[in-house]
Assembly symmetry: D2
Homo-oligomer: 336 residues x 4
């Protein structure tokens, strides 16, 4: 049994992570932490877990924590995460980090887009990016894995093989993404107050969303291509799910059918990426670690649609998949 701790376990990704880990036959959850000393009991914070886990929140004490766990899932906000990840690693704990702190290729880009100084700059650029379908070898050996952003996962899984195979042009790439409200996290904000966002769809962060450089840099890392994606996220009135509609221009005479062939080849051994002849829907992947992808032709443009659950394949499921890869388990352990 691998002893697992969750740092910052009060949010939506943590509760989904706990649900998966409780089913995982090789995992024992031994610590969950919260930064707020007044955090209520686990059964009040996550009533869905009532009676499921004989454990309660503690505040993070690094030596104690590191003695009780082999692996840490770190669910802290950006910058806060990088302040402790190094200490965990130094104490021999492998880390899967949900924050954006170690996703980018260089500190400059991080500091430009996140507006804070990076607390652990030396590590940036040397951390495995946690999409096993693209970076399996690096993840296997990693002591820290940067769990990917939810939007980038939905864009990178369909785009990366196509750019690597040189089937599509590097520009323009338009990623029009729609996310359920849980993507905004669990902190209250008038924007996510039920009567404000129910029965409404709206765009936000046009030209300014931090997942834009993440998509670009991971494509660069994966296949060397320079891209500048035009990424627009939308707030959709549903709990969970991301649908990304991606508009790309073919090279030569590539069409949607060639795109499907390329994916078919690239993902033939990957269980969590599913090619769909029908158009995909977030409902079909809700609560699962699948990413469904499909392609269509539209007047010379190739229109790609991908669907995943932002809390699972876009966060906690991907994290467990990374965990499985790091330990030589089957990718699906605890999830299928």
């Amino acid at each position: 049994m691998i002893r697992v701790g969750i740092v910052g376990a009060t949010g939506y990704t943590a509760v989904e992570l706990l649900k998966i880990l409780l089913r995982h036959p090789e995992v024992s959850v031994t610590a969950i932490t919260s930064r707020d000393p007044n955090t209520p009991h686990l059964s009040e914070v996550h009533p869905g877990l009532r009676d499921q886990l004989n454990l309660n929140f503690s505040q993070l004490d690094i030596p104690n924590f590191c003695e009780s766990v082999d692996v840490a899932f770190c669910c802290l906000p950006h910058a806060a995460s990088a302040e402790i990840v190094g200490q965990l690693v130094d104490a021999g704990v492998r880390v899967i980090d949900f924050s954006a702190d170690y996703r980018l290729n260089d500190v400059e880009t991080f500091e430009k887009w996140y507006g804070v100084q990076h607390p652990d700059a030396a590590r940036v650029g040397n951390v495995a990016y946690g999409i096993p379908e693209l970076f399996r070898a690096a993840i296997k050996e990693a002591d820290v894995v940067a769990n990917p952003g939810c939007f980038p996962s939905s864009a990178l899984l369909p785009l990366a093989p196509l750019l690597k195979a040189d089937l599509i042009q590097a520009a323009p790439i338009i990623v029009d993404s729609k996310t359920g409200i849980s993507g905004a996290g669990r902190k209250t904000n008038l924007k996510f107050h039920y009567p404000e966002c129910n029965e409404s769809i709206s765009a936000y962060g046009i030209g300014t969303h931090r997942h834009m450089p993440e998509i670009d840099q991971i494509i660069k890392r994966f296949c060397g291509t320079d891209v500048e994606t035009v990424f627009t996220p939308h707030l959709t009135p549903m709990d969970r799910g991301i649908l990304s509609t991606i508009y790309v221009q073919p090279k030569n005479k590539t069409n949607a059918s060639d795109v499907m062939d390329c994916w078919n080849d690239f993902y033939k051994d990957e269980i969590f990426v599913r090619l769909s002849p029908d158009l995909v829907a977030t409902k079909n992947v809700s609560g699962t670690n699948f990413c469904d992808i499909a392609a269509r032709d539209s007047r010379g443009t190739i229109v790609i649609v991908s669907a995943l659950d932002n809390l699972i394949k876009g966060a906690s499921g991907a994290a467990v998949q990374n965990f499985n890869v790091m330990h030589g388990f089957d990718d699906t352990l605890g999830m299928l």
Copy 2:
């Protein structure tokens, strides 16, 4: 008082139309028809109208109908509509037609996209297109107005002035639209069964949706520009509202601010198109005849977002606005 009849009054656009007309100080609703002789009483079909209208469904008998009305709102499906519109006009009734039958510029395009022979081909291309902000003069004099499609309205209102002013390139134009489920009409279909489409977003009709040629042809008609929009509609889990996210390439150094200036000038006398410095949301226009529009820069691409209520500005509100224009009333009569 102008006597008004509604042909095909059992659906969602008809009930919204009735709600507006009941408030209209210059209108008396004198006939509502249904093609099904077994249609239940109005208060069962539209329980929201209980006790509001002392009238019930009849089957369309053209001579009787034409004696009792001055204006007909025709809410029949395509092809069915064109079979009766001519007869109504010949009897001296002015018609506002909700179907697609008279929206396009030529019969060939209609028959290609709709897959049926046009029952009233001679009239096609000679009918006013019912966006008063673009075609006010033609609507004023018209005996038939083609009420516009909901998606085209959301695309044409922001795009038409920019193309006319030559601020943006004619290609590529990508229109990524999200609609509430009422856009699918009131006929049952597993796709629109609540548990199928709730908590899910999905694309449909990629490259094949009939509103795509409508957008192109009306732009051509309005400013002579040839465009081939790449249009993708999405089914969004909400009752009503359309949000269109439109990606265009600037000419010269046009940016989002220039776009706002152009709209500001073009729409300065139009009350139902609102320029928004903030990003728009369908909730803000729900139940109203407003179309809110905004623009942003994203890495050289101009991203336009428009929001309207598919049943009001996208259908019944636009129809009443057309009615008002046809009769020399203020555009807002019955609506503000």
Copy 3:
């Protein structure tokens, strides 16, 4: 034109009130206030009202305010309201108060259930309760009207005539109510964070909700009957609407049909209470000032179902109806 001001105009009831008043032919809105000096511009607080009202928030200055208005709609929280209502009245302004401050019959009950000292105790018990269908005469003459609670309206409209006619027993009366989330107001709270309450229904405030004594006391005031309703509210995943399912025991052999007859007689001249032979639904009254009611027999128990829009007939529509009654206008002015 009657000059109207709204005190505390940043919430959901205020925006609905403004929408109705902007349509009202006898009203000019001349002042809107907010207690927070940092309140953004009206078009940011209520983007649905963009370009509709040439007015912005001010802080309440009573002498200035009273010079500019004839009638005040007061949308402040309980206790805060009673601190200013007296001053407005003394300055000759008639007040329609949305708070609970003047709804109850006695100060003791108020202070017990609301846990604060009443700032204007002398007035309590002498204020017209704002359901015109029950207290029209008192409202007509009133200088202050206590606008009713949303849940009490949904219970009192069906119950009051039956208790007055002695058709049902005074105990037990069970009121099981379901409300849309806008009923919780616009202040953020984790409970009303979209992903917490979407796709979920839950009961709250069992045995402790403040609308329980309000129902009891207004029944007592209306027909002298002592009742102790068992009232349970539920949070329902929708923006607006209240459905109350009410379980009562008949006297003698009263059945659902007798109940319908009683209502039919009592409400024959009231346009906003609609008797429905079919079971009612909140959708049918959404955005309207109607309260739909129906009754059924179930094993000797009479089951009553009432539906209203909590923001309209449960708040702002009722307020305008009261305003109309106070000024001798038709109840429906501005609303139908």
Copy 4:
């Protein structure tokens, strides 16, 4: 491995059943049937199961089917089910039947409420009712288990122990239930068309719902008490979940705390019934086999609230729990 077949596998309960069975370590799904020979491929009918199950729909051929399975889950409509269950049993297949055909105690009641002749009358009254928490011994030995109705489960789990312990009165018992729309099944109907039931709550089947006699008869069977529950279901705008608010009268001085004690004792070894000090919500049990229950005092009435997922503890989870009991497995196998 136990070979399992599903008869009538195109609906919502079947897909949830398949998801659980695919995770069950002791189950191999060997047959799924559909009555419609034109049923599309499994991956089109249930796109969420794409690539998960190497099997497709066949039409039921009883000899073939019985050779390939040890246990059948029968998801047919009432009456259709009873026409084949006997044949399956005769061929040595144990059956878990989702229909209402074998739930009641006598044929007369069945025929009165369901309006059809029972095709297998002799078996009625001799079939284990599939709530393991109440009828574990009978289920263990059964060749046919009647899987319970979703509403009855939500009422019986809290009520049965209290009536058995004589803590509450047998009348009146009011069960006010709220269900997600998936409870209506997957057959299209205007009532469940998204724009009809979204953003709306309504009661239906008052005094006439078939789950009413089921509740009564199972209470009679469990503890001999005659009850006549007043049951009112409501359609709630969410995919899944049932919340039942139950109003009972105490015997002696029983209060909510005594109720909790009684449950605590009765359910101390039952993992799927969770006692909640906080009020329950359907969200907390969504996708799980838990039934959460809580109690409160309200003016002498005891108000009980229970929450379960209508498709899991209200259908397919209960079925697998029954399956586990029948085979001597831990109740939770495949589910936790």
